[in-house]
Symmetry: C2
Subunit: 217 residues, 2 copies
Protein backbone atom coordinates (compact mmCIF):
# COMPACT_ATOMS: atom_id res chain seq x y z
CA UNK A 1 0.00 0.00 0.00
CA UNK A 2 1.04 3.63 -0.37
CA UNK A 3 1.86 5.86 2.58
CA UNK A 4 -1.55 7.59 2.36
CA UNK A 5 -3.35 4.25 2.79
CA UNK A 6 -1.04 3.31 5.69
CA UNK A 7 -1.93 6.64 7.30
CA UNK A 8 -5.69 6.05 6.82
CA UNK A 9 -5.54 2.55 8.27
CA UNK A 10 -3.58 3.53 11.39
CA UNK A 11 -4.77 7.10 11.96
CA UNK A 12 -1.15 8.29 12.01
CA UNK A 13 -0.57 11.41 9.85
CA UNK A 14 1.78 11.04 6.85
CA UNK A 15 4.40 13.52 8.16
CA UNK A 16 4.50 11.59 11.46
CA UNK A 17 5.07 8.30 9.59
CA UNK A 18 7.95 9.94 7.69
CA UNK A 19 9.38 11.19 10.98
CA UNK A 20 9.33 7.66 12.45
CA UNK A 21 11.16 6.37 9.37
CA UNK A 22 13.83 9.09 9.74
CA UNK A 23 14.26 8.26 13.44
CA UNK A 24 14.68 4.56 12.70
CA UNK A 25 11.49 3.40 14.47
CA UNK A 26 9.89 2.18 11.24
CA UNK A 27 11.73 0.54 8.31
CA UNK A 28 11.44 2.52 5.05
CA UNK A 29 8.93 1.34 2.43
CA UNK A 30 10.05 -0.56 -0.65
CA UNK A 31 10.59 1.76 -3.61
CA UNK A 32 8.28 0.81 -6.48
CA UNK A 33 9.39 3.86 -8.49
CA UNK A 34 11.91 6.64 -7.73
CA UNK A 35 9.37 8.63 -5.72
CA UNK A 36 6.84 5.99 -4.69
CA UNK A 37 7.29 3.65 -1.70
CA UNK A 38 5.15 0.63 -0.85
CA UNK A 39 4.32 -0.38 2.70
CA UNK A 40 3.07 -3.74 3.93
CA UNK A 41 1.34 -5.35 6.89
CA UNK A 42 4.57 -5.41 8.89
CA UNK A 43 4.69 -1.62 8.66
CA UNK A 44 1.08 -1.32 9.78
CA UNK A 45 1.70 -3.59 12.74
CA UNK A 46 4.89 -1.80 13.74
CA UNK A 47 3.13 1.57 13.50
CA UNK A 48 0.36 0.40 15.85
CA UNK A 49 3.02 -0.81 18.29
CA UNK A 50 4.82 2.55 18.20
CA UNK A 51 1.57 4.41 18.92
CA UNK A 52 0.71 2.12 21.83
CA UNK A 53 4.16 2.55 23.39
CA UNK A 54 3.93 6.34 22.95
CA UNK A 55 0.32 6.99 23.91
CA UNK A 56 -0.35 4.46 26.64
CA UNK A 57 3.15 3.45 27.70
CA UNK A 58 4.35 7.06 27.87
CA UNK A 59 7.71 6.10 26.33
CA UNK A 60 9.72 8.74 24.48
CA UNK A 61 10.65 8.34 20.79
CA UNK A 62 14.33 7.75 21.64
CA UNK A 63 13.44 5.02 24.15
CA UNK A 64 11.19 3.32 21.60
CA UNK A 65 13.97 3.40 18.98
CA UNK A 66 16.25 1.78 21.55
CA UNK A 67 13.79 -0.97 22.49
CA UNK A 68 12.84 -1.71 18.88
CA UNK A 69 16.54 -1.91 18.04
CA UNK A 70 16.78 -4.81 20.51
CA UNK A 71 13.59 -6.39 19.11
CA UNK A 72 14.97 -6.27 15.57
CA UNK A 73 18.48 -7.51 16.38
CA UNK A 74 18.71 -10.80 14.47
CA UNK A 75 22.13 -11.94 15.64
CA UNK A 76 21.50 -12.47 19.30
CA UNK A 77 20.04 -15.53 21.03
CA UNK A 78 16.47 -15.16 22.22
CA UNK A 79 17.14 -14.87 25.93
CA UNK A 80 19.71 -12.10 25.38
CA UNK A 81 17.31 -10.12 23.21
CA UNK A 82 14.60 -10.55 25.83
CA UNK A 83 16.94 -9.34 28.56
CA UNK A 84 18.16 -6.38 26.50
CA UNK A 85 14.61 -5.31 25.64
CA UNK A 86 13.49 -5.59 29.27
CA UNK A 87 16.55 -3.70 30.55
CA UNK A 88 15.79 -0.75 28.29
CA UNK A 89 12.28 -0.37 29.64
CA UNK A 90 13.36 0.72 33.11
CA UNK A 91 13.77 4.20 34.52
CA UNK A 92 17.56 3.80 34.71
CA UNK A 93 19.13 7.05 35.95
CA UNK A 94 22.08 7.48 38.27
CA UNK A 95 22.31 5.79 41.64
CA UNK A 96 22.45 8.17 44.60
CA UNK A 97 24.81 7.60 47.49
CA UNK A 98 23.01 9.05 50.51
CA UNK A 99 21.82 7.10 53.56
CA UNK A 100 18.37 6.44 52.02
CA UNK A 101 19.94 4.94 48.89
CA UNK A 102 22.13 2.64 50.99
CA UNK A 103 19.18 1.55 53.14
CA UNK A 104 17.06 0.93 50.04
CA UNK A 105 19.76 -1.16 48.34
CA UNK A 106 20.15 -3.25 51.49
CA UNK A 107 16.36 -3.78 51.69
CA UNK A 108 16.24 -4.89 48.05
CA UNK A 109 19.18 -7.28 48.54
CA UNK A 110 17.44 -8.83 51.55
CA UNK A 111 14.17 -9.11 49.63
CA UNK A 112 15.85 -10.97 46.75
CA UNK A 113 17.54 -13.37 49.17
CA UNK A 114 14.37 -13.90 51.23
CA UNK A 115 12.23 -14.61 48.16
CA UNK A 116 14.89 -16.79 46.54
CA UNK A 117 14.47 -14.80 43.32
CA UNK A 118 16.66 -15.71 40.36
CA UNK A 119 17.93 -12.17 39.91
CA UNK A 120 20.42 -9.92 41.64
CA UNK A 121 20.86 -6.34 42.78
CA UNK A 122 22.63 -5.27 39.61
CA UNK A 123 19.54 -6.10 37.52
CA UNK A 124 18.14 -2.80 36.16
CA UNK A 125 14.72 -3.56 37.67
CA UNK A 126 16.31 -4.09 41.09
CA UNK A 127 18.15 -0.77 40.70
CA UNK A 128 14.83 0.92 39.82
CA UNK A 129 13.23 -0.61 42.89
CA UNK A 130 16.08 0.73 45.07
CA UNK A 131 15.66 4.19 43.58
CA UNK A 132 11.91 4.21 44.22
CA UNK A 133 12.36 3.03 47.83
CA UNK A 134 15.11 5.59 48.45
CA UNK A 135 12.81 8.33 47.12
CA UNK A 136 10.11 7.10 49.54
CA UNK A 137 12.64 7.34 52.37
CA UNK A 138 13.58 10.91 51.44
CA UNK A 139 9.97 12.07 51.66
CA UNK A 140 9.50 10.51 55.09
CA UNK A 141 8.10 7.12 54.07
CA UNK A 142 10.99 4.78 54.81
CA UNK A 143 8.46 2.59 56.64
CA UNK A 144 6.91 1.77 53.27
CA UNK A 145 9.58 -0.95 53.05
CA UNK A 146 7.30 -2.91 55.45
CA UNK A 147 5.09 -3.61 52.44
CA UNK A 148 7.77 -5.16 50.25
CA UNK A 149 6.67 -8.75 50.77
CA UNK A 150 3.01 -7.98 50.14
CA UNK A 151 4.01 -6.18 46.94
CA UNK A 152 6.25 -9.11 46.02
CA UNK A 153 3.38 -11.60 46.52
CA UNK A 154 1.23 -9.52 44.17
CA UNK A 155 4.06 -9.10 41.65
CA UNK A 156 4.66 -12.87 41.59
CA UNK A 157 0.93 -13.41 41.00
CA UNK A 158 0.95 -10.99 38.05
CA UNK A 159 4.18 -12.46 36.64
CA UNK A 160 2.71 -15.98 36.75
CA UNK A 161 -0.38 -14.74 34.91
CA UNK A 162 1.80 -12.97 32.32
CA UNK A 163 4.00 -16.00 31.69
CA UNK A 164 0.96 -18.25 31.43
CA UNK A 165 -0.50 -15.91 28.82
CA UNK A 166 2.75 -15.91 26.83
CA UNK A 167 2.83 -19.69 26.98
CA UNK A 168 -0.79 -20.09 25.79
CA UNK A 169 -1.09 -17.24 23.33
CA UNK A 170 2.25 -16.14 21.92
CA UNK A 171 4.15 -17.76 19.05
CA UNK A 172 7.93 -17.95 19.47
CA UNK A 173 8.55 -15.53 16.59
CA UNK A 174 6.39 -12.90 18.33
CA UNK A 175 7.93 -13.46 21.77
CA UNK A 176 10.20 -10.42 22.04
CA UNK A 177 7.61 -8.01 20.67
CA UNK A 178 5.03 -9.49 23.06
CA UNK A 179 7.35 -9.05 26.02
CA UNK A 180 7.80 -5.37 25.15
CA UNK A 181 4.03 -4.92 24.78
CA UNK A 182 3.30 -6.86 27.94
CA UNK A 183 5.88 -5.03 30.00
CA UNK A 184 4.84 -1.53 28.93
CA UNK A 185 1.07 -1.86 28.48
CA UNK A 186 0.77 -4.38 31.32
CA UNK A 187 2.19 -1.72 33.65
CA UNK A 188 -0.47 0.72 32.49
CA UNK A 189 -3.14 -1.94 33.07
CA UNK A 190 -1.92 -2.75 36.58
CA UNK A 191 -1.41 0.89 37.60
CA UNK A 192 -4.96 1.79 36.56
CA UNK A 193 -6.32 -1.25 38.41
CA UNK A 194 -4.39 -0.40 41.56
CA UNK A 195 -5.98 3.05 41.54
CA UNK A 196 -9.43 1.52 41.04
CA UNK A 197 -8.76 -0.90 43.91
CA UNK A 198 -7.71 2.06 46.10
CA UNK A 199 -11.01 3.81 45.38
CA UNK A 200 -12.88 0.63 46.23
CA UNK A 201 -10.88 -0.15 49.38
CA UNK A 202 -11.16 3.38 50.74
CA UNK A 203 -14.89 3.53 49.94
CA UNK A 204 -15.30 0.39 52.05
CA UNK A 205 -13.00 1.62 54.82
CA UNK A 206 -13.99 5.27 55.09
CA UNK A 207 -17.52 5.15 53.70
CA UNK A 208 -18.89 6.48 50.44
CA UNK A 209 -20.21 9.69 51.91
CA UNK A 210 -16.99 11.46 52.78
CA UNK A 211 -17.00 10.84 56.51
CA UNK A 212 -13.70 11.38 58.21
CA UNK A 213 -11.11 8.70 58.77
CA UNK A 214 -12.09 6.29 61.47
CA UNK A 215 -15.69 7.40 61.46
CA UNK A 216 -17.16 4.46 59.62
CA UNK A 217 -15.41 1.15 60.13
CA UNK B 1 17.34 29.32 56.15
CA UNK B 2 18.49 31.12 53.00
CA UNK B 3 17.99 29.70 49.52
CA UNK B 4 21.66 28.58 49.35
CA UNK B 5 21.24 26.45 52.46
CA UNK B 6 17.96 25.00 51.11
CA UNK B 7 19.84 24.09 47.92
CA UNK B 8 22.68 22.43 49.86
CA UNK B 9 20.29 20.40 52.02
CA UNK B 10 18.21 19.10 49.12
CA UNK B 11 20.77 18.96 46.30
CA UNK B 12 18.49 21.09 44.10
CA UNK B 13 20.34 23.96 42.37
CA UNK B 14 19.28 27.51 43.32
CA UNK B 15 18.02 28.43 39.79
CA UNK B 16 15.87 25.27 39.80
CA UNK B 17 14.36 26.24 43.17
CA UNK B 18 13.54 29.70 41.77
CA UNK B 19 11.94 28.06 38.72
CA UNK B 20 9.70 25.89 40.94
CA UNK B 21 8.61 29.02 42.84
CA UNK B 22 7.76 30.81 39.56
CA UNK B 23 5.77 27.75 38.36
CA UNK B 24 3.80 27.61 41.60
CA UNK B 25 5.16 24.24 42.77
CA UNK B 26 6.89 25.72 45.80
CA UNK B 27 5.55 28.63 47.89
CA UNK B 28 7.87 31.67 47.92
CA UNK B 29 10.12 32.21 50.93
CA UNK B 30 9.29 34.82 53.55
CA UNK B 31 11.04 38.12 52.86
CA UNK B 32 13.37 39.03 55.74
CA UNK B 33 14.69 42.05 53.82
CA UNK B 34 13.86 43.43 50.33
CA UNK B 35 16.24 41.00 48.62
CA UNK B 36 16.54 38.19 51.14
CA UNK B 37 13.99 35.39 51.53
CA UNK B 38 13.85 32.82 54.31
CA UNK B 39 12.82 29.20 53.77
CA UNK B 40 11.67 26.70 56.38
CA UNK B 41 11.25 22.97 56.87
CA UNK B 42 7.99 22.98 54.92
CA UNK B 43 9.91 24.20 51.87
CA UNK B 44 12.56 21.54 52.30
CA UNK B 45 9.92 18.83 52.57
CA UNK B 46 7.98 20.09 49.57
CA UNK B 47 11.16 20.28 47.50
CA UNK B 48 11.98 16.63 48.28
CA UNK B 49 8.46 15.68 47.26
CA UNK B 50 8.77 17.56 43.95
CA UNK B 51 12.07 15.80 43.18
CA UNK B 52 10.61 12.39 43.97
CA UNK B 53 7.58 12.97 41.73
CA UNK B 54 9.85 14.22 38.91
CA UNK B 55 12.74 11.76 39.15
CA UNK B 56 11.07 8.51 40.14
CA UNK B 57 7.42 9.18 39.30
CA UNK B 58 8.27 10.62 35.89
CA UNK B 59 5.60 13.33 36.27
CA UNK B 60 5.96 16.57 34.32
CA UNK B 61 6.25 19.94 36.07
CA UNK B 62 2.74 20.97 34.93
CA UNK B 63 1.22 17.74 36.29
CA UNK B 64 2.99 18.23 39.63
CA UNK B 65 1.68 21.81 39.87
CA UNK B 66 -1.79 20.45 39.24
CA UNK B 67 -1.57 17.68 41.86
CA UNK B 68 0.01 19.95 44.46
CA UNK B 69 -2.76 22.47 43.81
CA UNK B 70 -5.24 19.81 44.92
CA UNK B 71 -3.05 18.90 47.93
CA UNK B 72 -2.92 22.54 49.06
CA UNK B 73 -6.60 23.34 48.52
CA UNK B 74 -7.82 24.18 52.03
CA UNK B 75 -11.52 24.69 51.31
CA UNK B 76 -12.52 21.20 50.25
CA UNK B 77 -13.49 18.24 52.43
CA UNK B 78 -10.84 15.54 52.75
CA UNK B 79 -12.44 12.91 50.53
CA UNK B 80 -12.91 15.41 47.68
CA UNK B 81 -9.28 16.50 47.88
CA UNK B 82 -8.21 12.85 47.89
CA UNK B 83 -10.36 12.14 44.85
CA UNK B 84 -9.13 15.23 42.98
CA UNK B 85 -5.48 14.41 43.68
CA UNK B 86 -5.94 10.80 42.57
CA UNK B 87 -7.82 11.80 39.42
CA UNK B 88 -4.95 14.04 38.32
CA UNK B 89 -2.41 11.25 38.51
CA UNK B 90 -3.83 9.26 35.61
CA UNK B 91 -2.85 9.29 31.98
CA UNK B 92 -6.11 10.97 30.94
CA UNK B 93 -6.08 11.62 27.18
CA UNK B 94 -8.97 11.35 24.77
CA UNK B 95 -11.13 8.27 24.46
CA UNK B 96 -11.03 6.57 21.07
CA UNK B 97 -14.15 5.26 19.41
CA UNK B 98 -12.99 2.25 17.40
CA UNK B 99 -14.05 -1.37 17.95
CA UNK B 100 -11.13 -2.04 20.34
CA UNK B 101 -12.12 0.93 22.53
CA UNK B 102 -15.73 -0.29 22.71
CA UNK B 103 -14.65 -3.85 23.57
CA UNK B 104 -12.26 -2.56 26.23
CA UNK B 105 -14.90 -0.36 27.85
CA UNK B 106 -17.33 -3.29 27.94
CA UNK B 107 -14.67 -5.53 29.52
CA UNK B 108 -13.94 -2.91 32.20
CA UNK B 109 -17.64 -2.44 32.96
CA UNK B 110 -18.07 -6.21 33.36
CA UNK B 111 -14.97 -6.40 35.56
CA UNK B 112 -16.29 -3.68 37.89
CA UNK B 113 -19.67 -5.43 38.15
CA UNK B 114 -18.10 -8.88 38.66
CA UNK B 115 -15.75 -7.67 41.41
CA UNK B 116 -18.44 -5.54 43.07
CA UNK B 117 -16.04 -2.61 43.10
CA UNK B 118 -17.28 0.70 44.50
CA UNK B 119 -16.31 2.65 41.42
CA UNK B 120 -17.68 3.11 37.93
CA UNK B 121 -16.60 3.37 34.32
CA UNK B 122 -16.41 7.15 34.38
CA UNK B 123 -13.70 7.05 37.06
CA UNK B 124 -10.45 8.31 35.48
CA UNK B 125 -8.62 5.14 36.51
CA UNK B 126 -11.28 3.01 34.80
CA UNK B 127 -10.92 5.16 31.67
CA UNK B 128 -7.13 4.63 31.80
CA UNK B 129 -7.67 0.89 32.13
CA UNK B 130 -9.94 0.92 29.07
CA UNK B 131 -7.35 2.85 27.06
CA UNK B 132 -4.58 0.42 27.99
CA UNK B 133 -6.73 -2.61 27.10
CA UNK B 134 -7.82 -1.02 23.80
CA UNK B 135 -4.14 -0.40 22.95
CA UNK B 136 -3.43 -4.08 23.70
CA UNK B 137 -6.26 -5.03 21.33
CA UNK B 138 -4.86 -2.84 18.55
CA UNK B 139 -1.47 -4.58 18.68
CA UNK B 140 -3.04 -8.03 18.51
CA UNK B 141 -3.31 -8.82 22.22
CA UNK B 142 -7.04 -8.56 22.83
CA UNK B 143 -6.78 -11.93 24.59
CA UNK B 144 -4.84 -10.19 27.37
CA UNK B 145 -8.29 -9.37 28.81
CA UNK B 146 -8.28 -13.01 30.02
CA UNK B 147 -5.88 -11.89 32.75
CA UNK B 148 -8.08 -9.13 34.16
CA UNK B 149 -9.22 -11.07 37.21
CA UNK B 150 -5.72 -12.23 38.08
CA UNK B 151 -4.53 -8.62 37.79
CA UNK B 152 -7.51 -7.51 39.90
CA UNK B 153 -6.67 -10.05 42.64
CA UNK B 154 -3.12 -8.68 42.76
CA UNK B 155 -4.32 -5.05 42.68
CA UNK B 156 -6.69 -5.71 45.59
CA UNK B 157 -3.82 -7.28 47.54
CA UNK B 158 -1.63 -4.22 46.96
CA UNK B 159 -4.48 -1.79 47.76
CA UNK B 160 -5.15 -3.59 51.06
CA UNK B 161 -1.45 -3.34 51.94
CA UNK B 162 -1.41 0.37 51.02
CA UNK B 163 -4.51 1.19 53.05
CA UNK B 164 -3.16 -0.75 56.03
CA UNK B 165 0.05 1.26 55.82
CA UNK B 166 -1.86 4.54 55.70
CA UNK B 167 -3.90 3.46 58.69
CA UNK B 168 -0.84 2.48 60.76
CA UNK B 169 1.67 5.09 59.71
CA UNK B 170 0.06 8.24 58.36
CA UNK B 171 -1.30 11.14 60.42
CA UNK B 172 -4.55 12.68 59.15
CA UNK B 173 -2.86 16.00 58.31
CA UNK B 174 -0.40 14.17 56.04
CA UNK B 175 -3.04 12.00 54.38
CA UNK B 176 -3.39 13.76 51.02
CA UNK B 177 0.35 14.19 50.53
CA UNK B 178 0.86 10.53 51.47
CA UNK B 179 -1.75 9.41 48.96
CA UNK B 180 0.07 11.32 46.21
CA UNK B 181 3.41 9.82 47.25
CA UNK B 182 1.96 6.34 47.60
CA UNK B 183 0.16 6.46 44.27
CA UNK B 184 3.12 7.73 42.26
CA UNK B 185 6.09 6.09 43.99
CA UNK B 186 4.11 2.95 44.81
CA UNK B 187 3.59 2.47 41.06
CA UNK B 188 7.32 2.71 40.48
CA UNK B 189 7.89 0.16 43.27
CA UNK B 190 5.36 -2.28 41.86
CA UNK B 191 6.47 -1.89 38.24
CA UNK B 192 10.09 -2.61 39.17
CA UNK B 193 8.99 -5.63 41.23
CA UNK B 194 6.86 -6.99 38.39
CA UNK B 195 9.90 -6.86 36.11
CA UNK B 196 12.02 -8.64 38.75
CA UNK B 197 9.32 -11.28 39.14
CA UNK B 198 9.28 -11.75 35.34
CA UNK B 199 13.02 -12.38 35.33
CA UNK B 200 12.59 -14.86 38.15
CA UNK B 201 9.58 -16.63 36.64
CA UNK B 202 11.15 -16.95 33.19
CA UNK B 203 14.45 -18.16 34.67
CA UNK B 204 12.48 -20.93 36.38
CA UNK B 205 10.40 -21.69 33.30
CA UNK B 206 12.95 -21.44 30.52
CA UNK B 207 16.15 -22.12 32.42
CA UNK B 208 18.99 -19.79 33.35
CA UNK B 209 21.21 -20.80 30.49
CA UNK B 210 19.22 -19.42 27.61
CA UNK B 211 17.70 -22.63 26.35
CA UNK B 212 14.79 -22.22 24.04
CA UNK B 213 11.17 -22.09 25.10
CA UNK B 214 9.87 -25.44 26.16
CA UNK B 215 13.33 -26.92 26.42
CA UNK B 216 13.61 -26.98 30.16
CA UNK B 217 10.38 -27.39 32.07
Amino acid sequence: MRIGELSRRTGVPVPTIKYYVREGLLPPGELSSPNQAQYGEAHERRLRLIRALLDVGGLKVAAIADVLGAVDDPGRPLHKVLGAAADRLGAAGEADDDAEAAAARAAVGELIARRGWHTNESNPAAADLSRALAAMGRVGHGAFAELLDEYADAAEMVARADLGYVDRRVAVEDLVESVVIGTVLGEAVFNAMRRMAHVNASARLYGDDGEERGGNR
